[in-house]
């Protein structure tokens, strides 16, 4: 079962929940934590583990073969992303603008634009005990996160069976990287905080997840801070609240030091156990 851990707003505790939950679950059973927040992948900062696999991730972009080119201009005409400019003596390829649709390459009458790989980031797979950590990390200067997220998801599919429990730490927001990370999840946990920013972005995330037809529940982080509007919203919308992680300076300090929180803050550990039980219940319902 694949559970996406997402949030509209950044900094609500998505990574904290993912890492601590995975760690707790791994005490009793195998679990995979996949960090799909490839622009800022942070899960690995909290987990020491040995390398199982590492690969450079590429996407395909055209490269110009001067000898073949007849300067017919078809490539520039078909590219909707302005990634190719034909100057009359040269075809310039702006690889960052390319969306890898292959149209220029395959429609070129003289095969002067073969597709070649361009590195966009790295994928790593590490393991400690029953916990596997799979992480994508986008190279600085690369603009498109989606191809790397897609490759990371493919890797999970190749490596793990569908009944393995996989927790996916999704990118923030509700734009295409978040959609890519969430669209095929069996369940979505939305991590929020009880503040106006948290609520505003939670509503957008709920709308997104419902639009994708995925079932979801909410985890309220820093419970006790802010106000009760998030609770009221969840009640009104009929969204289950799986747990309420208390607002705690000690938890914030653990996080700051890069430590897992559940061994140090029992109140947080108790709530995380509730999330773990919640997930296992959904898993059983799905299997039944």
């Amino acid at each position: 079962m694949r559970v996406a851990i997402a949030s509209g707003k950044g900094g609500t505790g998505k990574t904290t929940v993912s890492v601590n939950l995975a760690d707790l679950l791994a005490q009793h059973r195998p679990v995979v934590l996949a960090d799909l927040d490839v622009e800022e992948p942070n899960s690995g900062l909290f987990i020491q583990a040995g390398t199982v696999h590492q690969e450079a991730v590429h996407r395909m972009v055209p490269s110009w073969e001067a000898d073949q080119c007849t300067f017919c201009g078809v490539c520039q005409e078909v590219c909707q992303f302005n990634a190719l400019i034909e100057t009359g003596s040269e075809v310039m390829v702006f690889r960052e603008l390319c969306h890898s649709c292959y149209a220029c390459s395959e429609l070129c009458p003289v095969e002067a634009l073969p597709m070649t790989p361009m590195k966009i980031g790295d994928l790593s797979h590490r393991r400690t005990g029953a916990l596997d950590l799979v992480q994508g990390c986008l190279d600085i200067g690369q603009e498109q996160a989606v191809p790397l997220i897609a490759r990371t998801l493919d890797y999970l599919g190749e490596r793990f069976s569908r009944d393995t429990l996989i927790l996916c730490d999704a990118p923030p927001g509700t734009a295409c990287p978040m959609i890519e990370a969430v669209k095929d999840a069996d369940f979505v946990l939305l991590v929020t905080e009880p503040t106006p920013f948290g609520l505003h972005d939670l509503k957008l995330a709920v709308e997104t997840v419902r639009g994708l037809g995925r079932p979801c529940a909410v985890v309220i982080n820093r419970h006790g801070l802010g106000n009760a509007d998030v609770e009221a919203y969840c009640r009104q919308e009929g969204i289950p609240v799986a747990a309420r992680l208390p607002h705690s300076r000690e938890a914030a300090r653990c996080y700051a030091r890069g430590e897992r929180i559940h061994p140090h803050v029992p109140e947080v550990a108790a709530q995380l156990e509730m999330v773990a039980e919640f997930i296992q219940r959904i898993e059983q319902e799905g299997a039944a």
Partner: protein, 299 residues
């Protein structure tokens, strides 16, 4: 005209609360631009009036005309994004997956595929309670945050600054290191990093700084929640010095930010708070820094 961008790499460091405070301190002299269009929250603190709203289109969306389609399936063969699906025996393009490359439309023998402009969001030009102008936007759910809507917000903010003869543009930047943040940074004079002394905060600061180094601009930093981890704060300070980033302030881990948020205002509007004073000083220092650079007095 000087353009200041507030960014953080990591979410939840206080970027938007600090941007809102600067906007309020700058008052009507400042044009405020919210470039965090995916999770736009600045309006919750600044209460813009959404006086002017416009749809924003970017890119294309393919659609199959069922009357002309003979179900040959060539579109599905060429599509690299798996956007063509069979629905009730007919080829159909799933909007969410369509990248708008137009390959399918070009090769369709029946010319049954139409390319339409895609609405990706809305942008707004508003008046604030300070009398200042704010340009902001909302990306549609699931839309591609290609940076084009961000670029539009910045363009409109510059336009407003020119019209009104304003010297300052304050930008609440996008998170991450991808296209929206690059668009936020493009053409700016200064960047203010808002970070926190956490393993993730520091990690993301260094990543986003690696990106900022590619642009030629003045850099400054506010360390929020500095007392959360004094040792890490010292590491952040050392990094700032090494990287030539001006250290504007250390702010305490203070729930006043959240209290202000709950009240729908900025922390600088809460009289007498030490946070308010630290932010006022930061804003003054930042302006001075940019003003002296402009006149060439900067050492």
């Amino acid at each position: 005209m000087k353009e200041i961008v507030v960014i953080s790499g990591k979410g939840g460091t206080g970027k938007t609360s600090i941007s809102a405070s600067f906007s309020l301190l700058g008052g009507e002299e400042v044009i405020t631009a919210d470039c965090d269009v995916d999770a736009a929250d600045l309006h919750l603190l600044l209460a813009p009036d959404f006086a002017h709203a416009e749809d924003f289109h970017s890119g294309l969306l393919a659609r199959i005309d069922p009357a002309r389609c003979d179900e040959c399936g060539i579109c599905a063969e060429v599509c690299r994004f798996d956007a063509v699906h069979m629905v009730d025996g007919h080829h159909h393009i799933r909007e969410l997956d369509c990248e708008g490359c137009g390959y399918c439309a070009r090769v369709c023998p029946q010319r049954a595929i139409l390319l339409q402009e895609r609405r990706v969001g809305q942008w707004y030009r508003s008046r604030l309670r300070t009398g200042g102008t704010m340009v902001h936007a909302r990306l549609d759910i699931g839309a591609e945050n290609s940076g084009k809507l961000v670029a539009k917000v910045k363009q409109e903010a510059r336009e407003a600054a020119r019209e009104q003869g304003r010297e300052w543009i304050l930008v609440d930047g996008a998170p991450g290191i991808g296209c929206p943040v690059m668009s936020s940074l493009s053409g700016a004079d200064a960047v203010v990093f808002v970070t926190e002394p956490t393993v993730s905060g520091f990690h993301d600061l260094r990543r986003v700084h690696d990106l900022v180094r590619r642009f030629d601009m003045t850099t400054a930093c506010i360390v929020n929640k500095a007392d959360l981890n004094p040792e890490m704060t010292r590491h952040v300070h050392a990094f700032l010095q090494e990287a030539g980033i001006r250290h504007l302030a250390d702010l305490p881990y203070d729930e006043a930010f959240t209290e202000a948020m709950v009240e729908g205002c900025t922390v600088v509007e809460k009289q007498g708070s030490p946070l308010a004073r630290a932010l006022e000083e930061s804003w003054t220092r930042l302006r001075t820094l940019l003003e002296t650079e402009r006149t060439g007095d900067h050492p």
